[in-house]
Structures are given as structure tokens and as C-alpha cells.
Amino acid sequence: MTTTSPLKRTALFEEHKKLGGRLIDFGGWELPVQYSGVIDEHVTCRTSAGLFDVSHMGEILVSGGDAERFVYHLVSNNTSLMKTGQAQYSILCYPNGNAVDDLILYRLEETRFLICVNASNTEKDFHWMKEVHELGRFACKLENVSASYSQIAIQGPKASEIIQKLTRAPVSEIKPFHFLEDWIAGVSVITARTGYTGEDGFEIYCPWTEGPKIWNALLEKGGPLGMKPCGLGARDTLRLEMKYPLYGQELSSEINPLEAGLGWAVKLDKSDFMGRDALIKIRDAGLKKKIVGLELKGSGIPRTGYKVFNPSGDREIGSITSGTQSPMSKKSIGIAYIETEFSKVGNKILVEIRGNKIPSEIVSTPFYKRPH
């Protein structure tokens, strides 16, 4: 039996309606999938700037004397290297090494970390974190503060110039994966040089109710520079061109971060973290399957769930996790989870589309590389 609860709305709901956004149910959130069109928004983000409402993302605050010790134990990346003002991508793993979620940590203070998690995983992550917290008797507090923050991403080559019109803080000097606590349009915000598009850009955290103020101020300054609001459709194609993982597709409770190609964010030489022992065993045994990028050489577009076959077509070796036609190259691109022996760049494989096995090739990623 399924129960339908009313869709959650971000503080920007009325703005999306005014802008003609096409609203859909996205994991229980009523959010725009597109405004002007996915391709237009995608190309605009790559050539000018795109504005995204990502307020549905979850935020969890860890604070107290043991905050650093706790996050070090909790996630895969080396949080002890983070200074105040730094952000870091990391994986939250189960003891068996599989992924609970992927996330970004922000070190707000020596003893305060803000953790940004995937919207649909927020409750699950928070429960898992509390479990880990209780087991280890850490002297720190965990709070789900998701309802306190609106989050707006501004991404693209003009992003820095646009924000700079609204603040005195030197935004162009913020290094990638660093942030500033400053003021934009008179609102207290966290401006982080992070994103999910492969473009230069920022993710801005502000008090929930101030979302529309920041959004409209950015639209007003960005509009004349060609910036447009972008929906979840473009957000997905932008991240896909970069082969960034989407939890539930390229990373999941079935796919561990080593298989997902996220080994760079998994520091097995750390003294401990959830999933470390299992991941060491997995690494030592050799990966059976891997996440790869592929390109179709024949007609069609790879889609989630399509089967992938060996070159002779007599054995299934995996499946597509995400696919689309690249709005930049117009090529049919896909991400697939396949047996390691077929995963080398240049290898030929087959993707089954409506009964036909289409010649395809493993390619180097990201699929899109920024000019300059």
C-alpha cells in the first residue's frame, strides 16, 4: 500500500511558478524540471550562468568538542586535513563498504561541521549518523537543520561576476572547495565554491525564508549577463556530462565507492572510518565491477537499466546507470556499471536498446571538458 503525502515545497516555490517552471514530483519535492527547456538551460549554464534551487538538499550540523573526531570516524575522506573555511567531498559508508550517501562537509569552525546530503537520503543519513554517534560515545551534537537552509546554486563562467555585484566579499578569491561566510543582498550566507555541473560556480546557503531574496537579487543581476534559471533536468544532464555520480544510480547501497571510481575520496590509509576494513578487503580482492563512461557508435540513446553485453553479444556484463544525448556534443553518452575486464577506455561493448545490440565504446571521462 502506498500513501501519498502532500509534496514538500522550497521557499522558492512561488518564484518557480512565476517563472513558468514546469513543476514535478522529485522524491517528494515539488520542483521545476525545466523552465525554458533542458538543452537551452544546459548550454546557458556552460556559456553564461545557470541558477538552480537546490533547497531540497539536506543539511546536518555536527558541533561540539568531538565533532572532528566524529566526522573522521564517519566518512571516507580525510576530514582532519580540513581547515575552517574548507569544504570536502566524501562518502558515507556502511560497515560493508557500500554507500549510504555521498556528501559535502563544510568546516564552519574548529568544532562545527555542516554536512550537505542528498535530499532523498536526509532522514536515512541522519539516522545512520545518530547510530554511529551513539556507538562511539562522541561528545558532539547532531542536528538535522535541513529546514533552516535554502540553498541556491549559481554555476557557469559568469557566476563569479554576478555574485560580485551583490557583495563586498572577494568572491573571485574563494578557492575551489572553500567557502566564505558573508553577506549577499543584505542576507547572511555561506558562499561555497562548489557545484554539480563541472562549471566554475558557487552554492549559497542562506536562512530558509531568505531564499527568494537571494534568488531574485541574483536573477536581476544575472539576467542582463545571460544567466537563466535552470531546472532539475539540466542539473542532471550537466552532472552526467561530467560523470558525476547520482546517488541511487552510480553509487548506492549496492555499489561501493571504489567501484564508482570515487577512490580519490576514500582514504584507506586513515586510521579508521565506517566501512574501511571492508573496503580494504574489496580493494585487495580486486574490483569485479566498475562504473565507466561509454559512447554509442550506432543509433539510439542509452537509458538507465538498459543491458550491456560483451563484444560478441552472448553475455550480459552489466547495465546502464544513466544516459542521455549530450547537449554539448550531441553524442549519445552513458554511464554503466560493468565487469572490470571490459572497463578499459577504447574497449568495444554492446548496449541493448529495444532488442537491438548497439555498438558502443568505453571512453575517457568527463564527457565534456571546459574550454580554456
Binding site: 525545466q34 533542458v38 538543452i39 533536468g233 544532464t237 539510439g300 540513446i301 544525448q325 547537449p327
Partner: protein, 128 residues
């Protein structure tokens, strides 16, 4: 005027225009708008016999795959090749230049069983 009055329509959001014993088939403006940017079209081989409601091809947007269903039974006698090279024509001119196929009908009288434009417009209203 958005939905031509001399066309008939289906619940799968296709239109059909009758000429002699043939219908021209396309997708409606509502369908192209719901799909968004259309980037891929797959059409059947000439001569294929279709049952009423049978899948005869697909249109794909950036985000989604959508099957095409034959409004009536008959034989495929013509396909619009230009769509394969230029799928976005379906977004720009769905009711005319971006027709998909022509079908020689088994039973011309069956054409009258499809929805007229008024009925289709009110059907689309119920989906909003």
C-alpha cells in the same frame, strides 16, 4: 485553431488526418510540449502491418523515452525520414511538417471512432 478540426486524436496524444484510404499520423502539441526537447526518433519500416494501438516507434527527449502507438490498423506506406535527421522539428511543427508516418487503413470507417478536436482538448484539460 491549435488542434486542427479536421484531424482526429487519441488518448496517447497522437493525431490522424484522413486522405482517401490513408491517414497521416503525428504527435500532438500537448505531447511535444510534455516531452520537452526531442532529440531522437525511431520510425517503422515501410510495409509494416500495424494493429490498432500497436507500438510503431519511439520519440525520445533529453530526459525520457516515449512509445508511439498506431491510432488504427493498417500498413505503413510512408515515413517522414527528415525527422530522423532533425528530431527537433517535432517541437516546432508537430501538427504539420513533423508528421511521422502514413498508414493505409484496413477499415476507413474506423477513423470516425477517434476523438475529434473538441473531445481531445477537453481530454487534455482533465490531465492538468
Amino acid at each position: 485553431m491549435k488542434y486542427p478540426e479536421n484531424y482526429k486524436y487519441t488518448k496517447d496524444h497522437e493525431w490522424a488526418k484522413l486522405e482517401g484510404n490513408q491517414i497521416t499520423v503525428g504527435i500532438t502539441d500537448h505531447a511535444q510540449s510534455a516531452l520537452g526537447d526531442i532529440v531522437f526518433v525511431e520510425l517503422p519500416k515501410l510495409g509494416r502491418e500495424l494493429k490498432s494501438g500497436e507500438t510503431f516507434g519511439v520519440v525520445e527527449s533529453i530526459k525520457a523515452v516515449s512509445d508511439l502507438y498506431s491510432p488504427l490498423a493498417g500498413k505503413v506506406v510512408s515515413i517522414n525520414d527528415s525527422l530522423v535527421a532533425e528530431p527537433s522539428l517535432l517541437n516546432r511543427d508537430p501538427h504539420s511538417a513533423a508528421w511521422l508516418i502514413k498508414i493505409e487503413l484496413k477499415d476507413v470507417a474506423a477513423f470516425d471512432s477517434l476523438m475529434d478536436s473538441k473531445k481531445y482538448i477537453s481530454f487534455v484539460e482533465t490531465l492538468k
